[in-house]
Structure formats: structure tokens, C-alpha cells
């Protein structure tokens, strides 16, 4: 690869690199974490007492748990140098006109209102700790679909909220789930009533603006029997040379015959530690799909999971990771088969460049008595230069003799002959590299709605010709 090609293949994060002033924020917590900060957050949100207790208990878990000694390098995180809560505005609007101008401009630049008009059923936009905009198509509201920010969800639907909140990912699940449970703010609360199909996707957009910010959104999605929904999230932040943390918790409950697809395009700036716990329960005949792209962040540790609890439930995880200079994507997937005739398929594609590191870390577990499970795992890694690194750590645990399991992984580079072949057809070296990388991640992009696929390709390669998609 020529140096010129190498440079042209660098990703452009600058589109997302703009900052707004934080001077007019309604509230900024002190830096650092304490039970006082946790109580302040809860009080400011006017939460019921059970939630305050839940948060404080979670804080205890967080304090008592050691930092994970696996995955990425977490040693530089300074939990005392983080703002745990920032409220940019008092308003949570249902119309973009009501959103304060500076924030609205941010989302305009990110293209959110435009996308909303074209092909979304509903949009939520979170800025720092709070959701500033939320809307849902009228006819879906009439059918009983709930799409709110999580704080409003707690206020408006306390019973259903309390029934499910923290049941899929309890606070003591891991250190970062505990952290989120203590200081969570924002996120989406989704409920889809039995038999309702939400045809167009719901989208949530998460933006960190301030330096040293911690964003801890919490999403709870309940899809009732026979219902379906597609939820999309996007994440960006400007570049600071100070660390930020994004530590979300996403819980999904897919009831009998429900279908849920959760798509993420994560493009945090290189200062952000992205430490996320995502898990879904799939009941009888339900289908859960995680479509997960990790392009940004300094370090991502994220392993979307599906617990297949009901017979014939299905899980699909398709993920792509890109690690450029100074980035480590430690991502993967977990499929935990607890019921018979369940199926899972995990496809992971990773690309490392300029000394970046991608790691696939996965778990495939088949419990005793979960008979006739089928699972396929495939991990492919592409290394674009000799400095980059890739790891594969798949755990396969089989406790039932009727399981049919396959796992395959490959590591490789782009072949000189492939490049030559494409160049002999008139493509430049850059175009040839891009085309091969695009082809490599195609199993992922083909799952995205058209506009996102285009955006994804733009993200992944700036010099792409218009025809490829």
C-alpha cells in the first residue's frame, strides 16, 4: 500500500468534531462519584424512593468490585475526574423548534431531524445526561406504543417499569453495569403492545458534548407477544484530549413470538471509554437481533447478549469493528441457550489499521437440558498493516449432547492479487482497498436501512465511488 493510499484510507472523524459551550447548562454535578452525587441525581429527577435505594445499592456494588483484569486497558480511567451528571436544558421537547438553538444545531448537523421526516417512526435525542427531544408518530401512539426517555418512562408507567427494570441486567452483573445503575440518566423506554408491528425504525441519538463527561443512559425495551420493533442508536462526541466515559445499560425483553432488532452505529471520539452492557431475554419463538458497529472510542468493551429462555427462540448478532490508531475495540457477543430448539448465529467482522487493535470475545453456552440447539459463530479479521493486532477469544461451553455447534475464525490481510485485479479494472489503489473492505463488512451493511448503509460506507471510507452500497 502506498503512503498516499494509507492516508486516504484514514477515517474522517472530523464531521462529528464540533463543540458547543457548556456555560448555559442548567446543572453540572461536581466531578467525581459519591453517594451524595447519586442522591443529588435522584432528587433532581424527583424519583421514587425505591429508585434512590436501587442507585445507592448499585454504588456499593460498584465500589466493592475490582476493575476487570481482562479486555482492554482500563488503568487510565480516573473515576474522580468525570462529571456524572450534566443537564443542558430544562426542556424535553416534542418539537425541534422548542429545543434550545445550540443543541438543535448540533442535531441538525448530525442530520437527525431530516432522517426523522423521511423514514423513522420516532426519535429520541440525548445531549449529555438528559434527553432533549422525543417524538413518536401519532398512529403508533394511538396503538399504545410507548417511546419515551427512560426518566419519563419511570414517571408515567411506574408499574411496568418497576416490573422489568434491572431484571435482565441486575446492578451486580458487572462493575460498569453497577456504575450505570448508580448514576443512570436518560436513554429510551420502549413498550410495544401485543401484536403491534412498528414498521419504521425508532431512533435514538446520543451526543456527548462536554469534556470529562460521563454518559450513562439506560434503555429498557419491552416487546409484547407477537409484536415487533427495530431500534437504532447512534453515538458521537467531539474530540478532546481528556477522557470521557460512556457506560450504558440496555435491557430488552422479547416476549413470546416478538421480534426485536437493535442496531448501533457507535462512532465516539478517541477520548471516550465505551463500556456497555447489552442483554436481551428471548422467550418462546421470539427473535432478537443485535446489529452492532463499533468504529470510534478509545476503548470499547461491549458484548451484546441474548439469553434464549423460550423454546425455538432465535438470536442473531452481526457486528463490525474498526480500530484505527490508538483504538481498541474489544467487542463480541454472547448467546446463552437455556431452552430447547433454540438457534443463534454470530457473525463478527473486524478491521485493524495503524496499530489499532480489535478483539472478538464471545460466549456460546448451551445449558443442560437445552436440547437440539444450533449455533454458528464466524469471526473474520482483516489486518491492513503489519502494526495492527487482532485477537479472538471465543468461549464455547456445551452441556448438552444434542447441540450442533460450529465456530470458525480467520485472520488475513488484503491480497496483492485482489488489489491488482481491481486496479486492472480501472479502480485506483484507494478505491480497490475501500471496495475490498466494504465487501468484507457487507454482511453487516446489508442489514442496515438504506440511509444508514450509505452513512456507514461514508464513515468507513470517504473516497468511495457513488455506486457501491
Amino acid at each position: 500500500m502506498t503512503t498516499e493510499t494509507k492516508e486516504l484510507l484514514n477515517f474522517d472523524y472530523s464531521k462529528y468534531d464540533f463543540k458547543d459551550s457548556t456555560d448555559n447548562y442548567t446543572y453540572k454535578s461536581e466531578k467525581g462519584l459519591s453517594s451524595q452525587v447519586v442522591q443529588d441525581i435522584s432528587r433532581m429527577k424527583n424519583e421514587p424512593e425505591w429508585m434512590t435505594r436501587f442507585r445507592l445499592k448499585a454504588l456499593e456494588h460498584f465500589d466493592s468490585r475490582p476493575m476487570p483484569n481482562w479486555g482492554g486497558d482500563l488503568s487510565e480511567i480516573d473515576f474522580n475526574n468525570i462529571y456524572y451528571y450534566m443537564k443542558p436544558t430544562d426542556r424535553n421537547s416534542q418539537s425541534w423548534e422548542d429545543v434550545p438553538e445550540s443543541i438543535r444545531k448540533t442535531f441538525d448537523r448530525l442530520g437527525i431531524p431530516e432522517a426523522e421526516q423521511k423514514f423513522l417512526s420516532g426519535v429520541g435525542a440525548q445531549y449529555e445526561s438528559e434527553v432533549v427531544y422525543h417524538s413518536l408518530l401519532k398512529d403508533l401512539e394511538d396503538k399504545g406504543v410507548v417511546f419515551l426517555d427512560t426518566d419519563s418512562g419511570l414517571r408515567k408507567y411506574p408499574d411496568i417499569f418497576k416490573k422489568y427494570f434491572g431484571t435482565v441486567i441486575p446492578p451486580n452483573d458487572n462493575k460498569f453495569a453497577a456504575l450505570n445503575s448508580a448514576v443512570w440518566s436518560g436513554g429510551s423506554f420502549v413498550y410495544v403492545p401485543p401484536g403491534v408491528h412498528v414498521e419504521m425504525p425508532l431512533q435514538a441519538y446520543f451526543r456527548i458534548n462536554a469534556a470529562n463527561m460521563g454518559q450513562f443512559e439506560r434503555t429498557l425495551i419491552i416487546v409484547d407477544e407477537g409484536a415487533s420493533v427495530h431500534y437504532i442508536e447512534g453515538c458521537t462526541a467531539p474530540v478532546y484530549s481528556k477522557q470521557s466515559i460512556h457506560s450504558a445499560v440496555v435491557e430488552i425483553i422479547a416476549k413470546k413470538s416478538a421480534k426485536v432488532r437493535y442496531t448501533t452505529i457507535q462512532n465516539w471520539s478517541k477520548d471516550v471509554y465505551n463500556l456497555v452492557t447489552k442483554r436481551a431475554y428471548a422467550y418462546e419463538d421470539a427473535a432478537v437481533e443485535w446489529i452492532d458497529a463499533n468504529i470510534g472510542s478509545k476503548l470499547t468493551m461491549k458484548y451484546p447478549s441474548v439469553y434464549l429462555l423460550g423454546p425455538r427462540s432465535r438470536a442473531e448478532v452481526i457486528s463490525v469493528a474498526y480500530a484505527g490508531r490508538g483504538r481498541h475495540q474489544d467487542a463480541g457477543a454472547k448467546a446463552v441457550h437455556m431452552a430447547p430448539h433454540t438457534y443463534s448465529r454470530i457473525t463478527s467482522k473486524s478491521v485493524s489499521k495503524d496499530g489499532g487493535r480489535t478483539s472478538y470475545r464471545g460466549l456460546l453456552h448451551v445449558a443442560k437440558g437445552a436440547h437440539h440447539v444450533t449455533s454458528h459463530v464466524r469471526c473474520d479479521a482483516l489486518l491492513l498493516d503489519e502494526e495492527s493486532r487482532t485477537d479472538t477469544y471465543p468461549y464455547v461451553e456445551i452441556n448438552d449432547d444434542t447441540a450442533t455447534i460450529s465456530h470458525e475464525a480467520t485472520v488475513g490481510k488484503i491480497g496483492e492479487d485482489q488489489i491488482f485485479y481491481l486496479m486492472s479494472r480501472g479502480l485506483s489503489e484507494v478505491e480497490a482497498y475501500n471496495m475490498i473492505v466494504m465487501g468484507f463488512i457487507e454482511p453487516f451493511t446489508k442489514e442496515l436501512p438504506m440511509t444508514y448503509a450509505v452513512e456507514m460506507n461514508r464513515l468507513m471510507a470517504l473516497e468511495m465511488s457513488g455506486g457501491v452500497g
Binding site: 491480497g415 485506483s428 478505491e431 457513488g466
Partner: protein
């Protein structure tokens, strides 16, 4: 203007090993040449070098297209100048569908505004051309929604090469062992395709070990390569002689 590709005293090495030892050869638009020779005589090296594969180092000599020396150009620039190479072993690129690929490729070669690969050619024009070529070569349109060469049979790969040749409308095309690995039916289909594309605007150099493709494509000129040089040139009768006497004959005659 009639395009002419000239290879002049070409010496080429691969990984430090000298393969071509002074090849001289010319092909013009409208002509069909066959380059024959036993295994290891340097035929494929000649093809790759003409197209600019980075592993093939020119130690001496020149490749000239219309008076311009192109030996230093990368493969994409040569393609844009109207050269085409049909590969002996077409390369698979997973996840890239044939239509998208052809679009990018077509665009980079036929772009009217001189900035290739930027969607300069309207999609509709591209699509119309593609349909026309598919029809001409009698290729099922569903073919184009598959990934580039992935899971293609030997015959399909070669058909795909011919389709690309049709789309890119080169002035000079080199067909490297297009007949290897084809059964007789596939061979006929491919040969018919070449015949349909041949004409006053296209110069073809068919590189082949066997004589059999020449039953379906008739060259005006035949060259025999041996140990890195062209040792005989002549008309179609030379191919017949080879058929009769085998390559052993040239060793004595060289």
C-alpha cells in the same frame, strides 16, 4: 487513430528470477494475435507485466501504448488508457456485488468529466449498457447480483471476465489462458463472446497453451514463446504446425 500496443525488448523478473528475456511484440486495434507456448515459457508473465502487476519487475525494455511508455503506470491507469487483461485465475472479492463493482469500474473508465469513480456516468446510462452487453453475451441478468467471482464455477468466472471486457470496451485486450479449466461447451460460449466483441475497435492477444480455443477464434497472427522470448511468428498456419508437431519442435527450430 489506431491504437497500438508495443512490447520492446522486454526483460522481466519475478522475485529475483529472470522470466522474460527480451520479448518483442505488437498488437493493433482490429487484430487478433495468439501467443502460444509451453508451460513456463513466460506467457502469463508477459500478460501481468503488460497490465502492471507490482510483483513483475521490468529490468529492461519498454511497454508502449500509442508512442507513450506506460511501464511505470499502475494497473488502474493502464485500464483507463484502454488496456484490459482477462485473468487466468480471476480473483474473488467477497461481499462486493458484481453490479456495484462494474458500476465503479465503468465509471472510472468512461467518466466524461475526467474524475473517475465519482459517479460521473449516470446510473441509467450504465444500466442500459449493462443490459445490452448481457443480452449480447447471453448472460442471465441474475448473474450480476452475485458477489464478484465468489462461488463461481470455472466457466462462470471466465464469462464474468468477458462481461467485464464488454463493459469496459478496451482497445487492446490480453486474454490470459482464458481456455484453461473450461469444458468444451463453456469454451464455446467464451469464444463466441470474444468473437462478438472483436472488431475494428478491439485488438486481442490470446495467450494459450492449447490450440483448441483457436478452433473457435481465428487469429491473424500467431507467436510462439519459449524460454522467455518469442521464437516464432507467423500466420494461423503456425498454430496448425504446433498442433501437429507439439512444442518439442520449436526447441529444435529455435
Amino acid at each position: 487513430m489506431v491504437y497500438e500496443l508495443e512490447v520492446k525488448d522486454l526483460h522481466v523478473s519475478v522475485d529475483g528470477k529472470q522470466i522474460l528475456k527480451g520479448v518483442n511484440f505488437k498488437v493493433k486495434q482490429g487484430e487478433i494475435h495468439a501467443i502460444m507456448g509451453p508451460n513456463g515459457s513466460g506467457k502469463s508473465t508477459l500478460a501481468y507485466t503488460i497490465m502492471g502487476h507490482p510483483r513483475y519487475k521490468i529490468n529492461n525494455g519498454e511497454i508502449i501504448l500509442n508512442g507513450e511508455s506506460i511501464g511505470g503506470l499502475t494497473a488502474d491507469k493502464r485500464a483507463r488508457k484502454g488496456l484490459f487483461l482477462a485473468f487466468q485465475y480471476p480473483v474473488t472479492v467477497s461481499g462486493v456485488n458484481l453490479t456495484s463493482f462494474l458500476r465503479s469500474s465503468y465509471d472510472s473508465i468512461h467518466s466524461p468529466n475526467g474524475t473517475p469513480g465519482k459517479g460521473g456516468v449516470p446510473f441509467i446510462q450504465f444500466k442500459r449498457t449493462l443490459d445490452q452487453k448481457l443480452n449480447l453475451l447471453q448472460i442471465d441478468p441474475s448473474f450480476t447480483s452475485r458477489y464478484l467471482n465468489e462461488g463461481f464455477s470455472g466457466g462462470e468466472k471466465k464469462k464474468c471476465e468477458i462481461l467485464q471486457m464488454a463493459m469496459l470496451e478496451p482497445r487492446i485486450a490480453v486474454l490470459d489462458e482464458t481456455d484453461t479449466g473450461l469444458d468444451i461447451d463453456a469454451l464455446k460460449v467464451v469464444a463466441e463472446g470474444v468473437n462478438k466483441l472483436a472488431g475494428p475497435d478491439l485488438g486481442v492477444a490470446i495467450i494459450t497453451h492449447y490450440q483448441r480455443i483457436l478452433r473457435y477464434i481465428s487469429p491473424q497472427f500467431v507467436h510462439v514463446m519459449f524460454e522467455g522470448k518469442i521464437v516464432h511468428s507467423g500466420g494461423k498456419e503456425l498454430a496448425d504446425q504446433l498442433e501437429e508437431k507439439g512444442y518439442g519442435w520449436i526447441k529444435g527450430g529455435a
